[in-house]
């Protein structure tokens, strides 16, 4: 923590002003300039930070003490403009600055791109709030040969201009010290000019561009990953390493250690032994029976799902911080365009492979309502989450490569088909693909671990309670004969159309409580030989296409409203069963048994 004494020196008597509430300060700036890092430095709170524009999709608040003042700091999503046509994120930020929600604005800027920063400064100045300008990543700017005359710029604007390298904490003490000196900025409107020419001219006056000294390797890598001849082999390599870490280390080695080792050998036998002292059979079954809270709920949540999710988030965090994912967007732009999206959709789609619920939340980075809706629909329909992926690989990998290809072929075809139709049927526009490519960086281990830890905690906080609620529901359903009733009701569909054993109906019910949880149920059926190879392929295909888990459904409702949530749920269910039935019929006609 930078010491607050510096402020005491700057302002002889710390002004202890009486306020009805703490001084409210907003951190505003272009995307990917490090607002969240500065927020963390000021408040001591960590918010997810990455090398990807648009990571912050909600407003985060935290408290900081500066000198004698208590301040409320607000971290906002990155904005490119505050006037004209605005995205949802930009509206959030504008309303905050406009609606009297804050008393002071700290504009965070990427020192490399002064023109762009000043364009925003000029628009911010129109709101009339006291401002401070932070030129962040000044080290990277200098490495690129860019130097900014901060003192001259400060005199011109009439506000403090601070040079910083927030990730290392440099400039933070100066920022704290400057809070009391914030002023209203002199920008375009005060000089009677338009924002853009003013920003252009001012940037030229206070910035000098010299020699480019970016690291050779960094430069080479940045180029190699975006050019097809080198980029595609790199992509295949990245996918293979991801498979090794998540599919082999996570889904096989760690799951094996946890499930057979920790739970199979120790915890579950101990739990059963302890439970045998309980005189009531009902309570015993509730804890350690077939649908027992410990033997089923906790075992699945911790032993099967946790290792996969953790390893996935580790790999994803690495790719995200390295700056690789925006470059991936260049390759995927064409495919996504056919589906009414653009390359930017690659982030939510890849994140969906970890957790669809979390990915649904990040669809906010997409620019138009139509794109967000299509992305949410496709996530719910076709993108398997990490636990499902592990199950699919675990079951079908043991059958044949052809079985795997069949499943992914069917699911991908459905996604592209639905996306293609949705792009034409749904009203609204697709947005242009304009993407900033941040420099390739070596991810910082500390940041990577913190981020993975935070995501895993988020996942556990959301998932484990749902796993347990799901288990309790199943237990109750089983006791009152509800499972049998549902299985009966679904029997004509499940056994007739899909050709699956009746027990699969029960697994699909579980699947809705938690998609990965249902997948784990199928895993158990396959392992105990309750499914033929053909049935396994059908069941997993339907499961992958099937309704999202409850958490995902609730997130869709939260993002897009109940009506759209129910519409997506209904559509996906019909499509999943329909596809399963068609696949079943086709495979049987052609006598494919895998």
């Amino acid at each position: 923590m930078p010491c607050p004494h510096a402020i005491a020196e700057l302002t002889p008597k710390p002004l202890l002003r009486l306020r009805a509430h703490p001084l409210r300060i907003a951190l505003v700036g272009n995307p990917n300039v490090g607002k969240s890092v500065i927020f963390g430095r000021l408040t001591g709170r960590y918010v997810t930070v990455s090398n990807y524009p648009g990571t912050t999709v909600t407003v985060t608040r935290g408290r900081a003490t500066v000198g004698a003042e208590v301040c409320d700091i607000v971290d906002t999503p990155g904005v490119n403009a505050l006037e004209g046509a605005l995205s949802e994120d930009e509206k959030v930020t504008r309303d905050l600055v406009q609606g009297g929600g804050v008393e002071l604005v700290v504009q965070v800027a990427d020192a490399r791109n002064l023109r762009r920063a000043l364009l925003l400064t000029s628009q911010l100045a129109d709101f009339g709030l006291p401002m401070i300008l932070v030129l962040n990543m000044i080290d990277e700017a200098r490495a690129r040969g860019v130097d900014v005359d901060a003192r001259g710029l400060s005199d011109e604007l009439g506000i403090p201009v601070i040079e910083a390298v927030a990730i290392e904490g440099r400039g933070m003490a100066e920022l704290r010290g400057a809070l009391t000196q914030a002023g209203r900025a002199r920008a375009a409107s005060r000089t009677g000019a338009d924002h853009l020419p003013w920003a252009d001219q001012t940037a030229r006056r206070f910035r000098s561009v010299g020699e480019f000294t970016l690291g050779r390797f960094q430069e080479w890598l940045g180029r190699a990953v975006r050019q097809p001849s080198t980029g595609l082999p790199i992509l295949i390599f990245v996918l293979y390493v991801t498979y090794l870490v998540v599919g082999v280390l996570g889904a096989q080695t760690l799951v094996g250690l946890m499930e057979q080792g920790l739970f199979g050998t120790y915890l579950n036998p101990w739990a059963r032994a302890a439970a045998s002292h309980i005189p009531l059979a009902f309570v015993r079954d509730f804890l350690v029976g077939d649908y027992g809270l410990i033997t089923m709920g906790i075992t699945y949540a911790i032993a099967i799902v946790l290792p996969v999710v953790t390893t996935f988030f580790l790999v994803f965090g690495f790719l995200e911080d390295s700056g690789y994912i925006p470059r991936l967007a260049i390759f995927s732009d064409r495919i996504f365009r056919a589906m009414g999206l653009n390359g930017k959709a690659v982030l939510p789609m890849v994140l969906g492979l970890g957790c669809d619920t979390m990915a649904t939340m990040t669809t906010r980075i997409l620019a138009t309502p139509k794109e967000r809706l299509i992305a949410i629909l496709l996530l719910a329909l076709g993108v398997p989450c990490s636990a499902q992926l592990a199950t699919i690989l675990g079951i079908l990998g043991g059958i044949s490569f052809f079985a795997l290809i069949t499943l992914f072929g069917v699911v991908l075809t459905q996604m592209i088909l639905v996306g293609f139709l949705a792009a034409r049927i749904l009203p609204g526009e697709r947005s242009d693909f304009i993407m900033e490519l941040p420099p390739m960086r070596m991810p910082r281990l500390g940041n990577l671990l913190t981020k993975t830890g935070l995501r895993v905690r988020w996942y556990l906080g959301e998932a484990v309670p749902l796993f347990l609620v799901g288990t309790v529901l199943l237990f109750v359903l089983d006791r009152i004969g509800g499972l049998a009733a549902i299985a009966n009701a679904a029997r004509p569909v499940v056994t007739g159309l899909l050709g699956l054993p009746p027990k699969a109906a029960e697994v699909f019910v579980m699947g809705f409580l938690r998609r990965d949880y249902g997948a784990a149920g199928l895993f158990l059926m396959a392992r105990t030989g309750a499914l033929t190879h053909l049935q396994a392929v059908i069941a997993l295909t339907v499961m992958t296409l099937f309704v999202p888990c409850v958490a995902n459904f609730l997130m869709i409702v939260k993002e897009r409203g109940l009506r759209i949530g129910i519409a997506i749920l209904g559509f996906v269910t019909v499509l999943a069963v329909g596809t399963g039935a068609a696949l079943n019929a086709a495979l049987r006609i052609f006598h494919v048994a895998f």
């Binding site: 490119n80 700017a141 993407m435």
Partner: protein, 85 residues
């Protein structure tokens, strides 16, 4: 491009430039969408110096110390005056 333009300067849409081309933006076509405003907010506006880094699968160029990737449709509305080599 008309011959009169050619005698004066060498102006092309960004989408038609080859890799390695350098030049200064002279105009960003305005249409009914907010494309020009979006681009301006990223620093792509008349006066900015661009350097084409890649043309396939997407168009990648450097503008104001920032690397940007755009689709062809967008690149068509960015008009660049080539620097004499």
């Amino acid at each position: 491009m008309s011959p009169s333009d050619r005698t004066r300067v060498d102006v092309h849409p960004l989408s038609a430039l080859r890799r390695g081309s350098r030049g200064r933006i002279v105009r960003v076509t305005r249409d009914l969408t907010s494309r020009a405003e979006r681009l301006a907010a990223m620093g792509v506006s008349p006066g900015a110096v661009v350097n084409v880094l890649q043309t396939f699968p997407g168009i990648v160029f450097e503008c104001d110390q920032t690397e940007l990737a755009v689709e062809r449709l967008v690149a068509r509305s960015i008009w660049v005056e080539l620097e004499g080599v």
